[in-house]
Subunit: 332 residues, 2 copies
Amino acid sequence: MPQLPETMRAIVAVKPGAPEVLELRTRPLPVPGPGEILVKVEAAGVNRPDVLQRLGRYQPPPGASDVIGLEIAGEVVALGPNAARHALGARVAALVPGGGYAEYCLAHESNALPIPAGLSAVEAAAIPETYFTVWTNVFERGALKAGETLLVHGGGSGIGTTAIQLAKAFGAHVVTTVGSDEKAKECVRLGADLAINYRTEDFVTATLAATGGRGADVILDMVGGDYVARNHAAAALDARIVQIAFLRGQKVEIDLHVVMAKRLWQTGSTLRPRTVAEKASIAEALRAKVWPLLAEGRCKPIVDSRFPLAEAAEAHRRMENSAHVGKIVLTI
Amino acid sequence: MPQLPETMRAIVAVKPGAPEVLELRTRPLPVPGPGEILVKVEAAGVNRPDVLQRLGRYQPPPGASDVIGLEIAGEVVALGPNAARHALGARVAALVPGGGYAEYCLAHESNALPIPAGLSAVEAAAIPETYFTVWTNVFERGALKAGETLLVHGGGSGIGTTAIQLAKAFGAHVVTTVGSDEKAKECVRLGADLAINYRTEDFVTATLAATGGRGADVILDMVGGDYVARNHAAAALDARIVQIAFLRGQKVEIDLHVVMAKRLWQTGSTLRPRTVAEKASIAEALRAKVWPLLAEGRCKPIVDSRFPLAEAAEAHRRMENSAHVGKIVLTI
């Protein structure tokens, strides 16, 4: 194991604002605490909450690094007290509460999993945030079952491409919405049974038509605003509508008559503020149920583009333009 | 078995309107179809949906009688083809899709249960609608567990008095809201740990204080309107908020950030449009889990008042004044 440096380069938002507020700064190397590992980052995923954090609209949880970044892949280079799950030199993908856009990053050993066989560090860094999110929201909270229909909005996003592949791998039908015909084609290539261009078609009508009038059993939504009432209109009896963000509005109107008549479950969750133990439980489920699929190539992270760490601002611009299909990844 | 008459007296709303539109009319005796029983009604419960139906705001489901009334108790006097669950002469309490305010009423045999030992027909008629509703919404949909806290609005109503007793019998803590200090006393007498007079106290603050800041795990709400956002404020992490009516408004605003941060489940259901088989499944659970409690006197239907069938209008006036604690029952 080479001698570790005392400092590292890391990306921070020097003030809330446009992508150019992201600057490369020198920081002391973090020191792993009990159960933690220090990872030499090879690649870090870019996520929508990173953009919100840059804008000053999403504070890191107490104790988390102010360095942006929620997922990494790389090599374990130091172990904290009692960290015994991953050996020094092991290559892992980890969900982290912050600090990902950096040369080194701490992770709790229970929130890190081995890089699946056959995947590059860039692909592995594109896994944690979307796979943890999709697993806990679609399969645990939404309890999607084989034969049911999933409606996932933002089919071209990291969340969307992951949800499409996992839902198909577990035997569900998948309807998705996208913003262009190109993205629609890509989603169908990934397995979606129907990809609706929301700019030219009403997703409620299309979803009902695709399900013989029954509607979707699980809906994964990051749009919010008027989509919530439309999700309810597109939902089947006893459907679970799971909110993971609200790009188009936080305060929304719902019709209690529809909720009662269809016996809907409007729910939602956030990943980042959960305890290490809760994230570890999701990690265990992923290791058991999803890692084998990744190793067999039955699903894979879709990488849209990669940018060097120093060009994090450019990566954010690409995310904000919503032109991407799959994940945007920083390489270190 | 005495000869059955060819006609009977029954209450119908001759047009939508105030209580006086309820009139006694003569109707042909209904004939039981496959799996149905004919019950000589001794008592019929009065429910909030009866008032809505009288006002023309709640149409009976297709095929249901236009005679008002959703629950009855009395003697089985005729059996339809294949009806074998209850003997002629047996005394039953039944949930019916309509037709309850009458001398005779049809019920599906699977939606009828024996009158629990020691209860009068009046008490038995006060059971089905509230016990089916509370069981399916609080214990099945809401999955209330021992040690958790139930917040039930309208503690003085038939639903409220039933929910308080059942939740306590199954080991939960109970917080309830009522419109007067007299009703508060009555609810505490029935077992509620805290009864909040909503006219003088904010139920959100009081519920949070009563749970050490944690909030309620299950909320049973028939108020709607601004109560929905307030329910979310009073809810614990992972709470289930179950809507069964919306006396104060059907279209309501919710805050997706709260839903996600607390991982809430906003749901709801209606009882009347469900299939006979779904109601039979609730009946089976009640027979197994709740009938023994009724027979032991560990819970009992609370009867507010009784009115002769011909005075159904008076019974509706009492319900609309909301002065009652427990059920209003018609006697035949």
